[in-house]
């Protein structure tokens, strides 16, 4: 029983990262019907930005020499803002020109894939291949609760993922800009006629999705402190699968899908030989998609890519 509960804790932590990335995928898809395949790499950029922000602020090597608590408090918003700028830049220089020319959605998706590769290899060219590690911003404490070991960092990660989900859900369903986002997804062509600035809504969507990826990147860098340019690719793809299984375009779907994927992965490794982890995990997801091709929360649409 203890063993099972410990594995649940493991899955909750790992699922939080999938959920944070999947939310970004689903947000952009929900509004633009575009799969932003560069999102996993935006997440990677977020982790690197967190590294640069925190090392430049931290004493004794940093420029400002703040203490660790102050650095952590400052790093969170700075990383989110800088990462959202990266996301918006991608939208501005890569996707918008294509959309304006009326290119088919397929070309934009391929462009997104290319942007991801550019981010990975640009990082490699710029910073070299040597691994980075985030300075410790939080004193790690291990709590033992009835035979289950959990660190304060893991609790923060899960708490943040849940908080982000509710915040996002609130923005999309209860605010004016959220209403505009839903309107874009409903009918992009009628929208300008109603006086809603389409491109501003799109920019806001990208900024929001990328900011969440940046937050995820920061937490990831704190939990798994080995940063490398390709770290976002695999995690990003898996998070995309999580979003699809949950029903892409639906925020609840991304959240549930992220945790579902992590639970399946962890439990397969826990109760079967870990050699088969990905094989079994993805076979199970395939079966779920057979039963519900649109995902758990998804609604059938006439056109999808």
């Amino acid at each position: 029983m203890e063993f099972f509960l410990q594995q649940c804790v493991n899955a909750l932590q790992w699922g939080s990262f999938y959920a944070l990335i999947a939310l970004g995928y689903t947000l952009v898809y929900g509004v633009l019907r575009l799969i932003n395949f560069a999102h996993g790499d935006v997440f990677m950029v977020g982790a690197y930005l967190a590294f640069f922000v925190s090392t430049s602020l931290l004493a004794p090597d940093g420029m400002f020499g703040f203490s660790r608590e102050v650095v952590l408090v400052l790093t969170i918003p700075l990383t989110m803002i800088l990462t959202s700028m990266v996301g918006v830049t991608l939208e501005r220089i890569a996707y918008r020109p294509l959309m304006r020319k009326g290119a088919h959605r397929l070309y934009v998706v391929i462009t997104a894939l290319m942007c991801g590769l550019i981010l990975e290899n640009g990082n490699l060219a710029l910073l070299g291949a040597s691994r980075r590690t985030l300075p410790e911003l939080l004193d790690k404490t291990v709590y033992h609760i009835g035979g289950i070991a959990v660190t304060n960092l893991k609790l923060w990660v899960v708490f943040t993922a849940v908080l982000v989900f509710f915040a996002l859900y609130f923005i999309v369903t209860r605010t004016r800009i959220g209403m505009a986002m839903r309107a874009v997804s409903w009918d992009r062509f009628a929208l300008p006629l109603m006086g809603i600035p389409l491109e501003q809504v799109v920019v806001f969507t990208f900024a929001l999705g990328s900011a969440i990826a940046g937050l995820g990147g920061l937490l990831f860098a704190m939990s798994y402190p080995v940063l490398e340019p390709y770290m976002g690719a695999m995690t990003g793809w898996k998070a995309f699968i999580a979003a699809v299984v949950g029903g892409i375009g639906d925020i609840r779907g991304a959240f549930v899908g992220g945790f579902l994927l992590a639970f399946v992965e962890v439990m397969v490794a826990a109760f079967l030989p870990s050699t088969f982890r990905d094989l079994f995990a993805f076979s199970i997801l395939l079966i779920i998609l057979w039963q519900r091709p649109t995902g758990i929360f998804g609604k059938p649409l006439t056109t999808k890519i």
């Binding site: 063993f3 410990q6 594995q7 493991n10 899955a11 932590q13 790992w14 490699l124 070299g128 291949a129 040597s130 691994r131 590690t133 410790e136 790690k140 291990v142 033992h144 070991a149 660190t151 893991k154 798994y224 402190p225 080995v226 490398e228 390709y230 770290m231 690719a233 695999m234 995690t235 992965e265 962890v266 439990m267 490794a269 826990a270 030989p273 870990s274 050699t275 982890r277 990905d278």
Partner: protein, 390 residues
């Protein structure tokens, strides 16, 4: 018209390439297919630094003396991205286009095992400094190595851990797609169960090449209550797995293998890795003689203590250049040169390297000693004991 221009350009390029080959006889070319980027970039960097140091030293004296004439060394570095398929491509390029006399590398078994086949098929002598998987040289007369084998290293680790930790049971975590990690894990399990009985390896878990979270596997391992955890992993995974195990409440020791010995390990792993042991090829702290000389030169030039990769690369180049010197002359016949270099390497009686004295057995594997290193509280790799083949 365009077609004709193309043909002309192609003809010119061919002529240039041919004339390039003729000119190339003035230098001694050695190819390095090494991981400059990818999973283990520090390994590639160490290889390149050690090679550059060797080259500068030889070329400062006018070059390598072969049959009374001096030839400058020319080293060609190709990035294998730590991927088997890229490693094969760049090695073929080195052999067929750059016409190198010999190949030094690749470093990791994951690339060295497939690349060994390529070198062997193309009859080019190859020496991998760091690969420890037996398959890299097995039944390949053209392929050699400078490091000891996994089936030697695994019992060394098992014996030491049994003695040091007074351990009866062990748990193993390894990377499934890495020939090095998998081979060492298998060998270790056999060695351990031979000594302590069947079922004493209480957990035997694996992960994929891109995984970052091992908490599921580690929870399973910790639940089996092993006396220690054996981690035959690349350093970047060590830096993830050790702290994660601590977070899950594991308090016991870890035992590592030679892939731990990177200069980057302590930068990534920090305090979590202090006090752990691993088996390797040489220990930098407390070295003497030629080894110390090398360490001093290297640290002065590049600003950090060379890891085992650098030391083994230095020895591997030493073996190759010694074999080239024994050929006695450099002529244009590449096939003949390569054949003679191979024969000289195979018949080498003894090579005094900075990682110890060695000679080759009939599989092209060296017979040499292993070292157990302790990571002390300052994060230095210190000599604990030396284990020689019986």
């Amino acid at each position: 018209m365009l077609k004709r221009a193309c043909t002309f350009a192609l003809a010119c390029a061919t002529m240039l390439a041919v004339s390039g080959n003729v000119l190339a006889a003035d230098t001694i070319k050695i190819g390095f297919p090494i991981p400059l980027t990818g999973e283990i970039p520090k390994v590639g960097e160490s290889t390149k630094f050690a090679a550059e140091l060797f080259k500068e030293e030889v070329n400062a004296k006018g070059g390598l003396e072969v049959g009374g004439k001096k030839y400058p060394l020319e080293f060609i570095y190709e990035n294998n991205e730590a991927k088997p398929e890229t490693a094969i491509n760049v090695t073929l390029k080195l052999i067929t286009r750059d016409n190198v006399l010999a190949i030094v590398g690749p470093q990791s078994s994951r690339q060295a095992v497939p690349v060994g086949a390529v070198a062997n098929d193309n009859e080019t002598p190859m020496i991998t400094p760091w690969s420890t998987n037996p398959d890299a040289t097995k039944d390949r007369p053209w392929v050699f190595r400078a490091a000891f084998l996994d089936d030697f290293q695994a019992p060394v680790a098992a014996d030491f851990a049994g003695k040091q930790f007074k351990a009866k049971t062990a748990a193993v975590l390894f990377e499934i797609s890495n020939d090095y990690s998998k081979g060492l894990a298998d060998n270790f399990r056999n060695a351990w169960e031979q000594r302590h009985g069947k079922g004493t390896v209480v957990a035997y878990e694996s992960h994929g090449p891109k995984d970052q979270d091992f908490s599921a596997q580690l929870t399973k391992m910790i639940a089996a209550k092993p006396d220690f955890i054996f981690l035959p992993e690349n350093y970047s995974f060590v830096a993830l797995a050790v702290p994660q195990a601590r977070d899950l409440g594991y308090k016991g020791p870890f035992m590592g293998s030679d892939a731990w010995g990177s200069a980057e390990l302590m930068k990534l792993c920090k305090d979590a890795c202090k006090g752990q042991f691993f088996s390797t090829h040489y220990a930098a702290a407390g070295a003497k003689g030629a080894t110390k000389e090398f360490i001093d030169k290297y640290s002065k030039k590049f600003g950090y203590v060379p890891d085992d990769v650098a030391a083994l690369t230095w020895d591997a180049i030493g073996i190759v250049t010694q074999a080239i010197q024994k050929v006695g002359k450099v002529d244009g016949d590449l096939r003949k040169m390569r054949k003679e270099i191979r024969d000289n390497m195979a018949s080498m009686k003894e090579f005094k390297g900075i990682t110890g004295d060695m000679r080759f057995d009939n599989q092209g594997d060296p017979i040499k000693c292993a070292v157990i290193v302790e990571i002390n509280q300052q994060g230095e790799f210190t000599f604990k004991e030396s284990v020689c083949p019986k």
